[in-house]
Amino acid sequence: MTDILTIAGQNLSTPMILCFALGLLAALARSDLTIPEAMAKAMSIYLLFAIGFKGGVSVANHGFDSHLILSLLAGVALSFVLPFVAFALLRGLTNLSSLDAAAVAAHYGSISIVTFVTATSVLASQGIDSEGYMVAVAAAMEAPAILSALWLAARTGSGARMDAKLWHEILLNGSIVLLIGAFVIGILTGPPGMTRIESFIVSPFQGVLCLFLLDMGLVAGRGLRGVRGLLGPGALLFGVIMPLVGAAAGAAAGLALGLSPGGLALMMTLAASASYIAVPAAMRVALPEANPALYLTLSLGVTFPFNLTIGIPTYVAIAQSIGG
């Protein structure tokens, strides 16, 4: 417990968290501070490329762990199952329509890559190693949750639109392709490739993450400002309980897989995190009647900051005490 608090304390005083807080405050105070869309996209491309590449090089270094396939399968399974848990929780805690509940559930089954990236940087700062292939697990967990949610929505007769084109868009969406592509490039080029581009993708990484989290704080704050009153106490509760439920499920899966403490912490983080890029776009196409302000605010305005500040240090501390 002291451990968790110490880490949480340390974590709260990192430039990353403080940058997110700055963005949040600036937006809530209606400052006109904004990050240009192209800069935000550039930073996310950089972060996806760097994290994928580093994961690939780490796999190239340590050889293919026999657990890679099992971990991927476990990730996919979690992503399929968690939306049902989320849906049930939402129906219990809130009076959202089943359509809105299904849309929200899709987000919590899927993952947030920035939450993942932040967790890797917390691990790195504490000198804890993790399996390089966890970035592939992250990529694998993006899409399955969408299927579960659409099934839930269809069951309630809300006429989800699901066609081949949408599947294509989801499976080949830019972030999955970049993450997996960079991962494969990292495996293929290995340490010599790392030597070439290390001072681009390793050294400035945490600094870029700071500015990116500043932007996420701004976007989250703008969202929160716009929805005063939209989220009742039940929904807010869901936003902090669901990540803990997800993390528990992730912990169970990670322990069964025999992941290292670092890998365990990442698996918990993935399961605990909620998508705010890929899934919202898919929901706009497939479930246009669901309210985007609802799922975006819950995911980005409630669960993301919760994971950033309290979640990740908790998962790391738990992973260290139960793992390895």
């Binding site: 990050i35 240009p36 639109r161 776009a281 246009p288």
Partner: protein, 102 residues
């Protein structure tokens, strides 16, 4: 100069629906369209802005100049796409140069 009657259709639609809309337009026989970026806006679903967004968020404006007799086919197919979605469709009378292009 010699100009020809045409219709200017402007469709403001969510970015994730853009390719579905343009495919529908092409199927309905339009010969061309132009896509403009949109910075932000406001409607029944609230205020939004594109700033700082990383996903395929926001909206785009699709402008389509067509021969008047093709208007109905275009509106039908555009409507099938935007029907369940937020966004607006407007039509204005216009004159174009080089009618052979439309």
């Amino acid at each position: 100069m010699q100009t020809h009657a045409a219709k200017r259709v402007e469709i403001i639609i969510e970015a994730p629906m853009e390719s579905r809309l343009t495919e529908a337009l092409e199927k309905s026989g339009v010969t061309g369209f132009t896509v403009l970026p949109v910075l932000g806006g406001s409607g029944r679903s609230g205020r939004w802005t594109r700033e700082g967004q990383v996903g395929r968020a926001g909206m785009v404006a699709v402008i389509c100049l067509i021969r008047p007799d093709r208007l109905d086919a275009l509106l039908q197919s555009a409507f099938a796409v935007v029907e369940r979605h937020i966004g607006v469709v407007s039509v204005t009378d216009a004159q174009v140069l080089r009618a052979e292009r439309f």
